[in-house]
């Protein structure tokens, strides 16, 4: 079955490698992986969708916790979440007829035309994966030239949040006055 895991990790070089390497060495296959900063610049958020046996979700969570840089992990597979996947699709629209047809389709599906050129049109849809999938299916009536998807990002509904501690990465900066005096963020950006 598919599991969705959310991890909060320290925003430092090499952390993603540690997380991904864990999946590789335990032979778990990732369906999708998204990484990005949170509102706290010292914390990144990773969403992983993976294929695993029902009991394995818990094991992966425990193994992720063993990584020193992993702050918080949640298996959100069985809790109510908002899931979003974003697709950018470039389709061939050489004539007015096809441009109109793409425009109509986007209107029906709540997608957006984000770039219209003489030969091709780029459309964007953000939504649950199933709606993205069916939208892409529908776009096959045109010639798809290029496509990219972000993979799933998830957020628990209601007041459910990942435990956000009052956390600021001062592990290095606070103790080591940098060359130009005072703790700085330069280290974190490396």
């Amino acid at each position: 079955m598919k599991h969705t895991l959310i991890c909060l990790v320290e925003n430092k070089p090499g952390v993603l490698n540690r997380v991904v390497s864990l999946f590789r060495r335990r032979n778990f296959n990732m369906d999708s992986l998204t990484v990005g900063r949170t509102h706290n610049p010292d914390i990144s958020r990773i969403t992983v969708v993976m294929e695993a046996e029902p009991g394995d979700g818990k094991k992966v969570v425990m193994m992720l916790y063993k990584l020193i840089d992993v702050i918080e992990v949640q298996d959100v597979t069985n809790i109510p979440t908002i899931n979003r996947d974003l697709a950018l699709v470039k389709v061939r629209t050489p004539d007015a007829y096809s441009r109109n047809a793409v425009t109509d389709l986007c209107y029906e599906r709540g997608a957006r035309l984000v770039d219209i050129g003489p030969e091709v049109t780029i459309v964007e849809l953000a939504g649950a994966e199933e709606s993205v999938e069916s939208f892409v299916e529908a776009l096959h009536q045109f010639e798809i030239v290029e496509m990219v998807r972000t993979g799933r990002v998830s957020m628990g509904r209601g007041i459910r949040t990942m435990e956000q501690r009052d956390y600021k990465s001062t592990r290095f900066a606070a103790y080591a006055p940098s060359v130009n005096g005072g703790g700085s963020a330069e280290h974190d950006d490396e």
Binding site: I68, A176, V179, H187
Partner: protein, 578 residues
Amino acid sequence: MKLTGAEIVWECLLREGVDLVFGYPGGAILPIYDALTKYPQIRHVLPRHEQGGTHMAEGYARATGKVGVMLATSGPGATNLVTGLANAMMDSSPLVAITGQVPLGAIGSDAFQETDVTGCTLPVTKHNYLVTRTEDIAYTIREAFHIARTGRPGPVLVDIPKDVQNKVIEFHYPEGELRLPGYNVPGKAHPKEIEAALDLIHSAKRPLILAGHGVLMSGAMDEIRSFAEITQTPVALTLLGKGGFPENHPLCVGMMGMHGTAAANQAIQQADLLLAFGMRFDDRVTGNLKTYSPNSKKIHVEIDPSEINKNVKVDVGIIGDLKMVLRQLLPKLQTGQHQEWIGQIRDWEEDTSERDILLRLAAHPDGKLWAAQVIAELFRCTEGKALTVSDVGQHQMLEAQYYPHTRPHSLLTSGGLGTMGFGMPAAIGAKLGRPDEEVWAIVGDGGFQMTLTELGTAMQEHVNINIAIINNSFLGMVRQWQEFFYEERYQSTPLKNPDFVKLAAAYDIPARRVSTKEEIEEAVQWARSIDGPTLIEFVVVQNDIVYPMVPAGADLHAMIRRPKPSESPDFENNPTAI
């Protein structure tokens, strides 16, 4: 105080209480070695190979409970650490490895002796660092020691580029709390978990304690003994758990698992409650998981949360420090009586002694030398008081069977990784850490030759260890598997060995060869009387088998056992026949 990065490394090691390091110099770590000349209070031991150095550091760490430190240069120096780090990772030994790296600007350019060391060692370390600023060295080393020694201990590697070592900065030692938001060290158990455990403990009829390495690492020897005595619960040990509970105690049923005692394995299968204390249900301990201890409730006390329910589903899983958890349990324990259960275990033990090779040889001496005799004689001659360090293979299992340990940290061996070549260097490290102990490295002829270069270290540092080579000119354990499971096709297991006595002589190490039982005692006492390293080669029978044996993946109760005399058709002519 203005210091170079290299000097800061030593300042930090001093503050961690380090007075002995192992290491091998090279281009990228030369600044650190040069700075060492300013710190004469730190002793440096030079192994002959970086792998040997990591085993020494681990032997030192496990014998003393302190963090072992190993230095190496970039590239090949660092890649040679991998086996030793993996061994420390599997056996949860606290190590800090410091490696030199090519200068920052050269990283990624395939520079001379450049390797992605943090990448190479990622899966075999508890954590690792690439330090990119001299200002970060002190904090990183402090954090590295903290991570290495707390929670479930393990190896941590710090990779420092050469220019980062050279740069001069104003040095401030980072005091104050470490900021490790993703790292928690478990301590006490939740009271609800204690209650749940007590319910199971007090209703058990056939309880059994499984004591692992965690007993030694949390220092819970007294607590586990009190627990066993109050509740009258027998104790089985894992290989690394040896020393955590005295093996001469009436409640001790010996080692469990693949080559454990039949009584311990039968007790596991028949128990109605398993108390797994600081152990991790390794496959060598459980055999077939589907049939493992089928009728028991299970309580697992473990400091590493990922171990609970990993291999064996348990009824009560307690994440915590074993010593603290046992201290929570002890005042609430009711005294127990399990005479019938203990009597049953005694019967199994008697059945075992009938099959014992030593008793059989005593009744029917064959004039040959058997490995088990060597270990048993060694036990007798050292009065069971030596700190033994075994390598990997048949001799390791025989050591576990015939050298009962009664004191903590008196057996060091490579358990999880099974690293041939671990024994002799680890013995050097152990002796350097605990100079008052009588240290014996018990090694096979195969494993010894993997790291025999460290004889040079023993000679140079005048390390007073005794090396016992159990030489059967075979990779004995592999041979045993070939005999049982590959129709006696002994592919690539016979060894043509050098003259070990002459080899030792080349290193100026006194050595002897022993090939009969009668010579053992004199040789052992001779070795004990010499100050400095000694070596004894014991030439033993080739076609020896370690019994009992649970074949890999087989049911724990389905042990291959040495036949009883009544079951051996040719017993009169060939009493030691397998």
